[in-house]
Subunit: 347 residues, 2 copies
């Protein structure tokens, strides 16, 4: 129940004034060496610790940044946040976590809350593609840096850090083709979301570049979970001309599909090759390990944090930066047929 030490108490103790103590503590040049040392020693002796809230009120800088994600208990977002925290912490920033649960209402509400909390910046991955852009203008108007990672929208003044989803989709599809797949279906996430559009574009381009034809019906839009993968697999099994390759935008859907296909006697990768996306930990743990596209989430977090830091240190100028990371295809058993010669990486 002890009261916290303030600069006033130090001042009183030393027969000085708060201003002097403040200056001594901040190594202000116009202060005598003697008092500086005296003050600093006394501060330590009295267990003085600066009150960040007072500082924040005075300076308008809270040294807090808000991070908004759909949910944090997924490997991807957990890793991105780790990357953010790892680079922001040494710079003296604290990370405030907000989950939207993919609700647009929560997204909007959260932004105001963070703004009221005087955060110095907001890093977010957009949950709802339909979100009204106006929401972001209040952030920009206050000169609070706003950075999107992974799920972005193109807005003037907003920096973004993403992976090249087009390339990821291309690489994945191309590798399937090299394995001999001719009829490749694509399980996509919500096509209103940029990343899924891009992965699909990559899929299409790879098909065309390899002389295969692109069929709109081969793109199946689903939710990114195991059950959806299972459901779709059943549909595929019933097709007259069953696909021999699946490129899924989600590792979970890929897993579900694999399970159902195997239960129905389909051999993987011999009959059907399967590739997922996100490099979830389980993909490499499986006995039948699953080929996937790694998004380097930790680096994405690092980059997003760095972009933020640049933004705050560049006073006056608004910089808008678009960082695009290169995804990595990790070829594993689910898409490695015996006669393989095309493997780029194996982990």
């Amino acid at each position: 129940m002890k009261k916290k030490t303030t600069i006033y108490q130090i001042a009183e103790q030393l027969g000085l004034t708060a201003a002097t103590v403040s200056r001594a503590l901040n190594n202000n040049p116009k202060i005598s060496e003697a008092t500086r040392e005296l003050v600093q020693k006394t501060a330590i002796k009295m267990n003085y610790e600066p009150n960040k809230v007072a500082l924040a009120l005075k300076s308008g800088k809270s040294y807090n940044v808000g991070v908004i994600v759909p949910r944090i208990d997924t490997n991807f977002f957990g890793s991105v946040i780790r990357g953010i925290e790892d680079t922001l912490h040494p710079e003296g920033y604290q990370v405030i976590i907000c989950q939207t649960n993919n609700l647009q209402s929560r997204e909007i509400e959260t932004i105001s809350t963070l703004l009221n909390a005087q955060v110095d910046g907001i890093l977010m991955s957009i949950s709802a593609p339909e979100i009204n852009i106006n929401v972001f203008s209040q952030v920009l108007n206050k000169n609070v840096p706003l950075i999107f990672f992974d799920r972005k929208k193109d807005i003037e003044g907003v920096s973004t850090v993403t992976i090249n989803d087009f390339e990821g989709g291309y690489m994945a599809t191309d590798q399937l083709i090299q394995q001999g797949c001719k009829r490749i279906v694509h399980l996509s996430g919500n096509q209103k979301i940029e990343i899924f559009q891009e992965r699909c574009r990559g899929y299409k381009r790879a098909l065309l570049d390899n002389g295969l034809k692109f069929d709109k019906d081969s793109v199946i839009e689903i939710k990114s979970n195991i059950d959806e993968g299972k459901r779709v697999a059943k549909i595929l099994l019933d097709m007259k001309d069953m696909p021999d390759g699946i490129f899924s935008s989600s590792d979970f859907a890929a897993l579900g599909a694999i399970k159902t296909l195997k239960e129905n006697g389909i051999k993987i990768p011999d009959d059907v090759c399967v590739t997922g996306f996100a490099n979830e930990p389980f993909t490499k743990f499986m006995e039948l390990s699953i080929t996937s596209v790694d998004q380097s989430p930790v680096e994405m977090g690092n980059m997003a944090a760095n972009v933020f830091l640049e933004q705050v240190t560049t006073k006056g100028f608004k910089i808008e930066k678009k960082v695009v990371l290169t995804p990595q295809l990790l070829v594993r058993k689910s898409s490695s047929r015996k006669n393989d010669s095309s493997q780029k990486t194996k982990i």
Copy 2:
């Protein structure tokens, strides 16, 4: 670059004083209905939002709580944090995340940082079992509620939320015995950490209760990762009397052991039954799904948050609460022999 609206601006606009505006906004009873409405309408019109930092300085309450974990990009901690955020957010609290990377130095530093940031409470899982208890006295002295979850220490005035690790260890071992295992080894984490001591105690008790003898050499202390599991499996393979059951305190070590055993022709679960701990997602995804003990991390987070809320609303009195959650054994293929009759749960 617009300036934020303050109560002064509203006051000026209306020819009132800031105090009146404040009262109107807070529904203070001694204010005329007319002005209240007028003020509130104007506030909305002017996009007024209260400045949380000023509030925090004035009231000493920041409505921020700090959460300290070794790292957040693991399923367990990610889920606990999700649970915490889910229950604290509706109450108006923000969650500040801090990672220690299992470094004691970071743990200590982080506590001060949070205290300086005037957090209203600290929820943490201890990284370093050797940590000096004095570190926590500064928290308690300031009357900041401190709550340990999962990895705790017994300190007066500190509430804890844990699972019954003893029971978890007991259940896991008992199920292996019911499957017919006679020589069960236990792969333990750092035995200086309470949770691992408890799981080991449960293992021992289950052996004794079933008329098997406990052998100290059957407890092997390792790090909780795949490679360690592989390493130990090799040792087991060379033993004259190879074990027929493995209870691992870590799912990752269990996975590593399984991989190596299978590579060496050992049949699981027929030759060796294996059980892990933590119910990592991959354990149920594997073709050979792995039996594990679920720690209900989300509920743990919920509970920890609730204990905190109780603490802050109970003024004056210090309450110390010890919540112990019941773990759940999820019996899967890695420990389900044909003649099974003892299965409690199957997921």
